[in-house]
């Protein structure tokens, strides 16, 4: 009895210490965000002069947000970002889950080659592909400056990682017997996948969704190459206006950063309970 109580106290102390450690680390992790939050409401002179102060000498201001929104044409670029991110994410999930299913269920040579190429491509630095990409699709085919091109390119770049994750998940989480039963009942492979396999993959779908949506939402380099027209800019490109080599508008950057972060934060909070499960499924191959 006494022994048990001792053990329980020891456990409590241990847990308390761990919570304390986690809290300290958490504060460090969010420190930069807090700083952004504080400084977004200050004028530039106060940001440079006294970055840690809650409210600057020149007072609290919302002007950064108004100016940032106007300069970056916020609602237009927000719409573009939203459309590009959501289309590309949905298409990536759609195509890569199917591909993964094909690869897992059929031991064909073509599948193996595709899978190996995909895994290998994950270590290609983007800089290697960037000029060839532009010369080919801009110079030869002339298809840049369309949102649809960017969406398809996003999908092309992200299918390898997504297929890889679905591959792991289908391997471990979708029982083959279930699919075989469905086939005997007269389902085609297509129906089997969408009715049986896909719903089971929900956690992985959530994970791929958040990871890709984040990547697309924040990506700068690829959109900057593809989108050369103002009316189709995405948020990261529009935000670029605020960093000059010879002048940096710190207040506007902070404000723009907050504005750009909010939607993805909401998506994350909405999906986060699936994510741990999703990564579990992908991790165990």
């Amino acid at each position: 009895m006494d022994q048990n109580r001792k053990a329980a106290i020891a456990k409590k102390v241990r847990h308390g210490l761990m919570i304390l450690a986690l809290l300290i680390l958490f504060v460090i992790v969010v420190f930069p965000f807090v700083l952004v939050l504080i400084n977004a409401f200050k004028v530039k002179a106060d940001i440079t002069g006294d970055p840690l102060r809650l409210i600057g000498k020149h007072g609290f201001t919302l002007a950064n947000f108004g100016a940032a929104m106007e300069k970056m044409n916020f609602w237009t670029v927000f719409g573009n970002s939203l459309m590009i991110t959501s289309c590309a994410t949905i298409l990536t999930i759609f195509f890569s889950s199917m591909t993964a299913h094909l690869i897992v269920r059929n031991n064909w040579k073509a599948n193996k080659i595709l899978f190996v190429l995909m895994v290998a491509s994950m270590v290609i630095p983007f800089q290697v592909l960037m000029i060839p990409l532009v010369s080919l699709y801009g110079g030869i085919f002339g298809v840049l400056n369309h949102r649809i091109t960017l969406i398809l390119m996003h999908v092309g770049f992200s299918v390898s990682m997504a297929t890889f994750m679905f591959h792991g998940a289908i391997n471990t989480n979708v029982p083959i017997s279930l699919e075989e039963a469905a086939t005997i009942d007269g389902c085609t492979k297509w129906q089997t996948f969408w009715q049986i396999g896909f719903p089971i993959l929900k956690p992985t779908i959530a994970t791929v969704a958040i990871i890709d949506a984040m990547a697309f939402w924040n990506d700068y380099l690829l959109p900057s190459l593809v989108l050369g027209r103002k009316e189709i800019y995405t948020i990261p490109i529009a935000t670029k206006v605020f960093y000059g080599t010879y002048s940096t508008d710190t207040g506007l950057i902070m404000a723009a950063l907050l504005l750009a972060m909010l939607p993805i934060l909401l998506l994350y909070l909405f999906l986060q309970r699936y994510i741990v499960e999703g990564i579990t499924a992908g991790a165990v191959k």
């Binding site: 530039k44 002179a45 532009v134 670029k240 206006v241 080599t245 010879y246 002048s247 940096t248 710190t250």
Partner: protein
């Protein structure tokens, strides 16, 4: 495309007004800052989608003009400037503005301590200048100078003057490329570095000089916490964001020298516009582009845009400029008397190698002057010259 990002807002407002007045659609694209302007122009050309008018640095004009630039020599404004760039017989670059570099001073802060009017011409020699710094120090301004640590400032601006102040910059650079110049014993190199040593000595960031923050340095200068900062009239766009004195100006870098380089600013046309000559731009677009350049020079609104809303020193003799900011006012005064030309043919990686790898070390006292001279000589031996 605009590569002078600090005037982006003015540009956009102008575009709106211009469209309303003339019906010509103008869209302004801002250059990125994490890629070089040349690489952005490159990707646009690689994708057959160039800008109609592109603003680039002088050096890029030489690289791009042959293949892409339209000949502007028949334009009316061509005879009103000496700063246009001609490549292979065609006038390719429209000089957007005149900029010059030197020491920016905060006269108000200096006068507060010395009690007498600050006349920059009295401090042209290093000895006199150092005397002033000591006086400021004694008067309570502990560290009266600021040096920007950015590699473009150190390499492409300060160190570049070593070449520009030579009698024949081209011969000098060719000598370096050929390995025949002895930099360590070069008079101009030593004169400029003597001054640099003094600036270093009084630098408010001494100790971690290579990490000086441009915003903070500008803020200190604006407020008079420091009295001098090496820079150019473009720095006004940063300074004006802070609580600043209007009694500021720009003066030549002081030197103990026998030539006149310590009474003349180094500068010239910076930022050139060129019009695309390729088939990707229609004749109609090109016509509109030429009209726009003319508008900048000969229309009152165009002039006002250049000299008032952007506060730039015009490169054309018929354009008047009365409403300039304090720094540009000094630049204009010096420019009217003649400037030392900038040298636009330094190798592409000069700025990063000499500015970052060499000058930052020297600034931080991590390299001696002899080592610096040797390193620069060594760099030039393997550098790729710019053909011109």
């Amino acid at each position: 495309m605009n590569s002078k990002t600090e005037i982006q807002t003015q540009f956009e407002e102008m575009a709106k007004a211009y469209t309303e007045k003339t019906g010509v659609e103008v869209e302004v694209y801002n250059a990125d800052t994490d890629t070089t302007v040349a690489s952005q122009v490159a990707t646009r050309y690689a994708s057959n989608d160039p800008y109609t008018i592109t603003m680039v640095d002088a050096k890029d004009i030489y690289a791009l003009a042959d293949e892409y630039a339209y000949d502007l020599s028949n334009e009316d404004w061509a005879s009103h400037t000496k700063l246009g760039i001609t490549v292979n017989g065609k006038l390719a670059g429209f000089p957007f503005c005149v900029e010059a570099r030197g020491l920016i001073y905060n006269a108000e802060a200096i006068e507060k301590i010395t009690g007498e009017e600050f006349k920059p011409e009295n401090y042209a020699t290093l000895d006199a200048f150092k005397g002033l710094l000591d006086q400021l120090k004694a008067g309570g301004m502990e560290q009266p100078t600021a040096i920007l640590s950015e590699y473009w400032s150190l390499g492409a601006h300060y160190f570049a003057e070593v070449y520009e102040q030579q009698k024949d910059p081209d011969a000098f650079v060719n000598g370096l490329l050929g390995g025949t110049e002895d930099l360590d014993n070069n008079a101009k190199f030593n004169e400029l570095m003597d001054t640099f040593d003094v600036l270093k000595e009084y630098n408010y960031m001494k100790g971690s000089a290579a990490n000086a923050d441009r915003e903070e340095s500008s803020m200190k200068l604006a407020a008079g916490d420091v009295a001098f900062m090496f820079g150019g009239n473009w720095d006004w766009s940063v300074i004006k964001e802070y609580d600043h004195s209007d009694k500021m100006g720009i003066m030549p870098v002081p030197e103990n020298t026998s030539d006149s380089t310590n009474t003349t600013l180094v500068g010239g046309g910076t930022k050139y516009l060129f019009v695309d000559a390729s088939d990707n731009t229609s004749d109609e677009q090109r016509k509109a582009a030429l009209d726009f350049l003319n508008w900048l020079v000969s229309d009152a609104d165009g002039n006002a845009f250049l000299t008032e809303s952007c506060a730039l020193v015009p490169a054309f003799d018929q354009v008047t400029a009365d409403a300039l900011d304090p720094l540009s006012t000094s630049v204009k005064e010096y420019a009217d008397a003649g400037l030392i030309a900038t040298y636009d043919f330094l190798p592409d990686d000069h700025m990063t190698v000499v500015g970052q790898e060499i000058m930052q070390k020297y600034l931080d006292d991590a390299m001696s002057r002899a080592e610096m001279a040797a390193a620069v000589e060594e760099y030039f031996k393997s550098a790729t010259p710019i053909k011109h």
